[in-house]
């Protein structure tokens, strides 16, 4: 997993040479573990660069309020995203509905020049919306009834990707 994270950080630098105009936004709740590590990796690769890093919660942008109530987490974007290149980070890309909501939420903060998506696990063939990652740690093929979970040391004691 560490290797994948290092590789994702390097790929981001290749595509966004000017970190001045790049902002990184992790998605609450579980994308934050990945974005924390990617930001740490970026800091060790380019320590002289200032990295703008925020967190976004998309609970209020979901399209299923009546069916299941979700509890909101903190959103913290202490900078403007106007005209910036935004990299959204989440742990698993599955149906694409979370990212759809995240795009709506993001646009309420301003008009970014570009938005790209980084995930650790890309579950191909299970998309319900036309959304694809720009940076993916690993692509896996699963059937719709599978559940893929990324565990993190900070929360689940161990770094691992499990199929349940």
């Amino acid at each position: 997993m560490d290797l994948s994270i290092q590789r994702l950080a390097h790929q981001m630098l290749e595509n966004n040479q000017d970190l001045e105009n790049t902002v990184i936004i992790g998605l609450q709740p579980r994308g934050i573990f990945l974005s924390d590590r990617i930001v740490a990796a970026l800091k060790s690769i380019v320590p002289q660069q200032k990295i703008q890093y925020g967190r976004l919660d998309i609970t209020f942008y979901r399209d299923d309020v009546r069916n299941s109530l979700h509890i909101a987490n903190t959103t913290d974007i202490p900078f403007s995203i106007e005209g910036k290149s935004v990299i959204l980070i989440d742990d698993v890309l599955y149906t694409g509905r979370t990212i759809r909501a995240a795009l709506d939420a993001l646009l309420d903060f301003g008009r970014p020049a570009k938005v790209s998506l980084c995930v650790l696990i890309d579950r191909r063939f299970s998309r319900e919306l036309p959304i694809q990652p720009d940076f993916a740690g690993k692509a896996i093929d699963t059937i719709i009834t599978d559940k893929v979970k990324v565990n993190w040391k900070e929360k689940d004691e161990k770094d691992e990707v499990v199929l349940v």
């Binding site: 942008y61 309020v65 009546r66 109530l69 509890i71 909101a72 959103t75 309420d108």
Partner: protein
């Protein structure tokens, strides 16, 4: 996690966990209200009617703004300009409105228990926006949110509730809430404005000595004298009330500490609260109003999450 209740009729029916859930959700909505676009699409397919049988400025505007910030569709009803003036009953009015497919009813009424009556007879979720002298739950929630925001805690906080306790639904909701959340409460006012047996019924301390209560408390929640609900004179004059129980800068100057001043509005300036205190640095009255929108968004959001259950 979800609320243990389908309606918000009063703080009396809530669990401690419900109150915590509402307050933590309100904190997230407060952040939404700082964004460039202060609006989220959560309640896009929810229709809400504001049913006001009694006058209101703050509460009605605050609810309407909260509803619009959540992208709900909003209907407004004021009794004075409606068919209620022609003699239509409450239940008929509401059933007619509900037949237009309304999900949530926000209601204010001068009769205590009116929302509880409606809750028994209609399928929509009901939010009590003040019923007679019974409860005003969203006011108590926003008061708690504001106290927590200013002082960092509710548990163990010393709160003095001052003034017309007898006729105040804000006082009753505040007492229920603060009690559930572990705050200490002292109630202050002239004996004629404090119900008998309040100490025994709610476990709050009662005193008639304003100075002593102010010296004891961290937060003073000052209530409006509700002349419209007093059928007989309960004190000799407004001037005398102000002399004995009005909060003045000179009274605060005598304390050896600083206390937070709150008021649910509308203020009778120069009666229960003098202008220099109301507009002074320790007053969080306008923060209360600001927080009201976030707290009401939280209540509506959490109740809307239960509208598909029946």
């Amino acid at each position: 996690m979800k609320l243990s209740t389908k309606h918000l009729l009063g703080i009396k029916d809530l669990q401690k966990e419900d109150i915590q859930l509402i307050l933590s959700t309100a904190a997230q909505f407060k952040e939404v209200l700082q964004r460039p676009v202060k609006k989220v699409p959560s309640l896009r397919d929810i229709t809400i009617v504001n049913l006001f049988y009694e006058n209101s400025t703050r509460t009605r505007m605050s609810f309407e703004l909260a509803e619009r910030r959540l992208s709900a569709d909003v209907l407004n009803f004021a009794a004075s300009s409606s068919s209620a003036a022609k003699g239509e009953t409450l239940l008929d009015t509401v059933n007619n409105i509900l037949s237009m497919k309304v999900d949530l009813v926000v209601m204010r009424h001068s009769a205590s228990g009116a929302p509880h009556f409606l809750a028994k007879h209609i399928p929509a979720a009901i939010v009590n926006a003040g019923d007679g002298i019974n409860e005003h739950p969203t006011q108590a929630l926003l008061d708690a949110f504001s106290m927590q925001e200013r002082t960092g805690k509710i548990e163990g906080l010393k709160v003095a509730i001052i003034g017309d306790i007898m006729h105040s639904r804000v006082a009753l909701s505040n007492m229920y809430l603060l009690k559930k959340m572990g705050a200490e409460i002292t109630v202050v006012g002239p004996p004629t404005l404090i119900p008998k047996y309040l100490e025994q019924a709610l476990g709050v301390r009662v005193t008639y000595n304003l100075q002593e209560a102010l010296q004891w408390c961290d937060v003073a929640n000052v209530l409006r004298i509700q002349l419209e609900r007093q059928n007989q004179p309960l004190f000799s004059s407004l001037r005398e009330y102000n002399l004995a129980y009005g909060i003045k800068q000179s009274v605060l100057d005598k304390l050896n500490k600083e206390i937070v001043i709150m008021h649910p509005g509308p203020i009778n300036r120069g009666v229960e609260l003098d202008s220099d205190v109301a507009d002074g640095p320790h007053s969080i009255i306008l923060n209360q109003v600001e927080n009201g929108v976030a707290v009401r968004m939280a209540v509506l959001y959490l109740l809307a999450g239960r509208t598909n259950e029946n």
